[in-house]
């Protein structure tokens, strides 16, 4: 039975009606944008088309996002939040191996991205532009990457703690980022039924990677 204070704190966390409405509109804009990115292409989609598809005025879109790149970045932030929660909040994974946790993390990301595969390919290319909000030089994109890699570093440290810290410790999460991009490319080009090759590649490559990592930390 929930206590009075628990119920109160639950009510306190619940967003108000105004905030709920704002969230609904933002979700509509993001959904409309992703549908257009997927069907019409990222480069050719305009904010006007997004507003029309979402059933809002173009000015309303700008109340939430400055550019269509910001919409895309918001989607990738949601993807990372979703994947981190899939590992952190699943009680079945509490005693799981590092391989299994990393598998769940990456697999949740791919599942999240799956409905928008065409757009993901375009976004990857777009991110190569140094001026892009999605690219390596964007402050927001960098923060997202740091948050993701900090979670990966925690998973590794908790499952395979290193006795003595050395200057190269920071390299492991960075290597994982490169690995993740590799998996993403593999997945994009995987034409096997049900993306079976990606599943196999993910499982087997993580097994090799983690066994090397553990051997190196002994």
């Amino acid at each position: 039975m929930a206590t009075h204070s628990q119920a109160k704190s639950h009510r306190a966390r619940k967003p108000g009606k105004r905030a709920q409405n704002k969230q609904l509109i933002r979700d509509r804009i993001v959904k409309a944008a992703l549908t257009l990115f997927q069907t019409k292409g990222f480069e050719t989609t305009t904010t006007r088309a997004i507003a029309r598809k979402a059933g809002v005025a173009e000015g309303t879109v700008f109340n939430y996002f400055n550019t269509k790149e910001d919409i895309a970045l918001f989607f990738f932030e949601e993807e990372v939040d979703h994947a981190i929660a899939a590992v952190r909040d699943d009680p079945r994974l509490r005693k799981a191996s590092l391989e299994e946790k990393l598998f769940t993390l990456v697999h949740s990301q791919l599942e999240f991205l799956a409905p928008y595969e065409r757009f993901i390919g375009a976004a990857l290319l777009h991110a190569l532009n140094p001026a892009s909000h999605l690219g390596a030089f964007s402050h927001r994109a960098q923060q997202l990457r740091y948050r993701y890699l900090a979670f990966v570093a925690d998973l590794i440290e908790n499952s395979a703690p290193k006795r003595n810290k050395d200057v190269l410790s920071w390299l492991v999460p960075e290597a994982f980022w490169i690995y993740y991009l590799g998996v993403l490319l593999f997945w994009l080009y995987d034409t096997s039924e049900g993306k079976q090759h990606t599943l196999a590649f993910l499982d087997r490559s993580l097994n090799i990677g983690v066994s090397f990592l553990k051997a190196g930390r002994r």
Partner: protein, 430 residues
């Protein structure tokens, strides 16, 4: 538990298996230059055992098709020495598994939902490992316990890749005629077919219906709504694996009855159905104290061509001499049906081989005849004659998997030390 299985890693492992075999026997060859005959024989046995242990461990870590190849070779006619066979038989039921998250992902991709959403209960740990997948216990809402077989992802490509390497590392065996190319082709085709669980579901339904007259056999039922080409849900069959069953020290009477049931099951399939369960490794048979046999894993089922069936009906319990003109005509007719002329070497090997069958179920003996499978010399002779037959390179394609099934049957009957009224049983279905 190593599960490092990228194509490069697998290739490296396959190559290392080959290198280890070569270095093991090279070491033996060098030592044998300086040793006497009895010491040489002892050293050869030790070398066989050491190499076999290594091969088993490596194949186990490769899982999937490589492990299945090991299983097949462990039951196949005398391609490998006895010490190697003993080690490979350990592959029968062990294999490193998929972790629960991978199983969940595979089930979701195949059936649209995670196993915990589909089933009332689902055990995340497998209770049995198959070479191309693993089996979990679950319950269907409002129904009985079921066994859910989940396939390793990307297994078809792994099979093709493993066979590429298997062909490369077994070149000497192919050149010597111990392992004909046709046998490898047939195995590869069969393994690929085994990856289609829809086909296996069809096989199960076929055998469940057709084996109904044998009241001592239990075949699972399939739940199509919970199955796909990569997930197969079946009724849960209970029973003990052979080693567990033997550990419970069953009486000679029970072992005889179980042996007779196994023998009848095989010849009923062969002669009455013209189709048989051709994956006889011990993990696929479940034994019960009341002599019931549970038969699982129908991925490898073979249907005989009508001409092969006609031929088998003619040669089993053939009343005359195996060297008679009439028997020769039977053999010739079989080769002609396949567009071939009976080669002299194949004729001789077939006559010798048929002689072995004559010892197991002599045509002229009736109810009083009982064959004692505890006699190891029968197995040794069977392997020798079957090997000679394979070496002639003129074996019926159907026989490649029949040999596998027969070898499995005879191995099991030998382990049971069963005494079986063989002639009577075969006569029943001719």
């Amino acid at each position: 538990m190593a599960r490092e299985n990228t194509p490069t890693r697998r290739a490296f492992k396959m190559a290392s298996i080959g290198a280890n075999i070569a270095s093991g026997y090279l070491g033996y060859a060098l030592q044998s230059l300086f040793t006497g005959r009895s010491e040489r024989e002892q050293k050869l046995k030790t070398t066989h055992a050491r190499v076999a242990r290594h091969v088993r461990d490596e194949m186990l870590s490769l899982r999937g098709p490589a492990m299945k190849l090991g299983q097949t070779l462990s039951l196949q006619t005398g391609i490998l020495p006895a010490e190697t066979l003993a080690e490979l038989s350990a592959l029968q039921m062990q294999a490193p598994g998929m972790h629960p998250s991978l199983v969940r992902a595979q089930v979701k991709r195949s059936l649209g939902k995670e196993p915990e959403e589909l089933f009332a209960t689902f055990s995340p740990e497998p209770f049995a490992a198959a070479s191309l997948g693993q089996v979990h216990e679950a319950t269907i809402p409002g129904r009985e316990s079921v066994a859910v077989k989940v396939q390793y992802p990307g297994i078809r490509d792994t099979i093709e890749n493993d066979f590429k390497w298997f062909r490369a590392v077994t070149k000497p065996a192919q050149a010597s005629g111990h392992l004909p190319n046709e046998a490898i082709d047939e195995m590869q085709q069969q393994f690929l077919a085994e990856t289609d669980y829809k086909r296996e579901a069809d096989n199960i339904e076929f055998f469940r219906k057709r084996l109904a007259p044998l009241s001592f056999v239990e075949v699972p039922g399939v739940f199509r709504g919970y199955s796909s080409d990569r997930v197969l849900t079946m009724t849960f069959i209970r029973g003990k694996h052979l080693q567990q069953f033997l550990a419970s020290r069953p009486s000679q009477k029970i072992r005889n009855q179980l042996g007779a049931n196994l023998f009848e099951l095989y010849y009923f399939q062969l002669l009455k159905l013209g189709a048989f369960h051709a994956d006889p490794h011990w993990g696929n048979y479940l034994f019960n104290d009341d002599c019931h046999i549970g038969l699982v894993d129908f991925g490898c089922a073979k249907k005989l061509s009508p001409s092969s069936l006609q031929y088998l009906r003619g040669v089993y319990l053939f009343p005359g001499s195996r060297r008679s003109a009439e028997f020769r005509r039977l053999l010739e007719a079989n080769y002609e049906r396949q567009g071939e002329k009976l080669p002299r070497a194949a004729y001789q090997a077939l006559v010798d081989f048929a002689g072995e069958y004559r010892k197991v179920y002599p045509p002229e003996k009736g109810k009083q005849f009982v064959f004692d499978f505890s006699d190891k010399s029968f197995l040794t002779n069977y392997i020798r004659h079957a090997t000679n037959l394979f070496r002639t390179k003129h074996v019926m394609t159907d026989y490649i998997f029949m040999a596998r099934a027969e070898m499995g049957l005879y191995n099991t009957l030998h382990a049971l030390k069963a005494r079986v009224p063989t002639s009577d049983i075969v006569r029943k279905y001719l």
